[in-house]
Amino acid sequence: MSSHFEIALNRVRRSPYQAAAAISIMTMSLFLGCIFFLIAAGSQVILKFFETRPQINAFFKSDYVPSSSQVESLKSRLEATGKVGTVIYVSKEDALVVYKELNRSDPLLMEAVTAQMLPSSVEVSAKDPNNLKELAALLRTEEGVDDVRFAEDIIASLTKWTSSVRVVGGFLVGSHILITFFIIVLIIGIKVANRRDEITLMQLVGATPGYIAAPFVWEGIFYGLSGAVMAWGITYLILLYSMGFLVSFLAGIPILPPPIVFMLELLLGEIALGSLVGGLGGLLAVRRYLKA
């Protein structure tokens, strides 16, 4: 294996322009792959973040304060549906704390509001956003409930956006990977054609097809490997450079900085994809000749 890899490296060294073209196209495709994967993964995390936030707020009438047994009974009924993630009771006092926290920069607003003026409420999160409507309808029938609000639209549009990113990204990355694959086949195919006499000689002295193909496959893997490392490095640099902007843009949503383990997994994924595309490209290029 090592001698095949050495032969492959020698061939790469002897045709630097072809190698540069192969690595560039591989880097470009894998960079696109990196970016779209990060956007898809990021939007998935954002979606999860919103999904785990209280999605339904059922406000009681301002003059109605449910007893603790009523609250417990309501919680039990909601949990019995099996569609509820969490149920939190927010008393008038709790609501005032939240209100003050939100308006701490405006003392006038803080002074004007007392706990008695605010409604108590329950915050409910659903296991599946599709159940929001049903849970909201259930809450509306509860005694003392004045108003029910839920973030159906936000979740729905985020879900739509996430799946759009996946579809568009998948198509773009997929088509680039396919183009890259054919370019690798073409570049290694040229090298195979240039080494026709060598391949013929190898066959005549008893080389197996695998032995003849191995350096070409390794060459493809080398292109994939180099492209993957470069694409990942560029992506990481861009991500680090934009970190300040992204953190403020995504205020309150804790997805940045990405965990190093996640980034290393991304690198491994890129290497696996690049090596697969390059290796298969090399194999196809030489197999066509061996069959002919």
Binding site: S3, R14, D197, E198, T200, L201, M202, Q203, L204, V205, G206, A207, T208, Y211
Partner: protein
């Protein structure tokens, strides 16, 4: 070592080999003679299983080449050494690396490859030029390297296709001497396709003569006709 029965190979309407039968015993040395286009090279290509016959049978070293499975082909070819008229040396590899090619494809350990290359280089008397590239050698030296490559793996059968076709008489004589040395030292079966009448007559070995694809004469200790 080689048994051909009613061997026929056509290229379109042309009979390159027509109903040829002969047998070569292990350790034998024979010349395959005839004018250009008589079928010598085609016969060697059939023995090397580069071509398949249209009819007849061909057994090489107990392997029926007609029934041979594709995956068995590399193993059979490792038992055969071949010397080409145009040498077929790899221009981007040095002499040592060229001779090592048939050994490396057998996945032999490096020490074994080095030892075999060294012996082959000594046999063709080119031990002093292992790091030179083919472009730096003369025609005679190139053919000696091609011979060294063919014998490095100690083949049971050595085929030489017009090994002196591109060489001057003196170098041609040297190549023939080396082929004879290989035959006597390694006990290798040697088949030399040639139309060098002078050298064929000099060695008085078995001669199979072909003409227009047909075997016209098979004589022990024969002469070129």
């Amino acid at each position: 070592m080689v048994t051909a029965k009613n061997l026929t190979k056509k290229f379109g309407d042309i009979h390159a080999i027509s109903d040829v039968s002969f047998a070569v015993e292990p350790g034998e040395f024979l010349f395959l003679t005839g004018p250009s286009g008589s079928g010598k090279t085609t016969l060697l290509r059939l023995i090397l299983r580069e071509l398949l016959p249209d009819s007849g049978s061909l057994v090489v070293n107990s392997h029926d080449l007609v029934k041979l499975k594709k995956k068995e082909l590399p193993q059979i070819r490792r038992e055969i050494g071949i010397v080409f008229q145009d040498f077929k040396l790899l221009p981007d590899r040095n002499i040592w690396e060229n001779i090592a090619v048939p050994l490396e494809v057998r996945h032999l350990p490096k020490s074994q490859v080095d030892q075999a290359v060294k012996i082959a280089l000594e046999l063709v008397e080119l031990s002093d030029k292992p790091t030179l590239f083919p472009a730096q050698l003369s025609g005679g030296e190139l053919q000696r390297i091609a011979l060294a490559r063919a014998i490095a793996g100690k083949p049971k059968l050595l085929l030489a296709d017009e090994p002196t076709g591109n060489l001057d008489p003196k170098t041609a004589k040297l190549i023939f001497k080396l082929l004879k040395d290989v035959h006597s030292e390694l006990k290798t079966t040697v088949i030399v396709a040639t139309h060098n009448a002078e050298l064929v007559n000099l060695y008085s070995q078995r001669v199979i003569s072909l003409n227009k694809g047909k075997l016209i004469k098979d004589s022990p200790a024969g002469k070129y006709e």
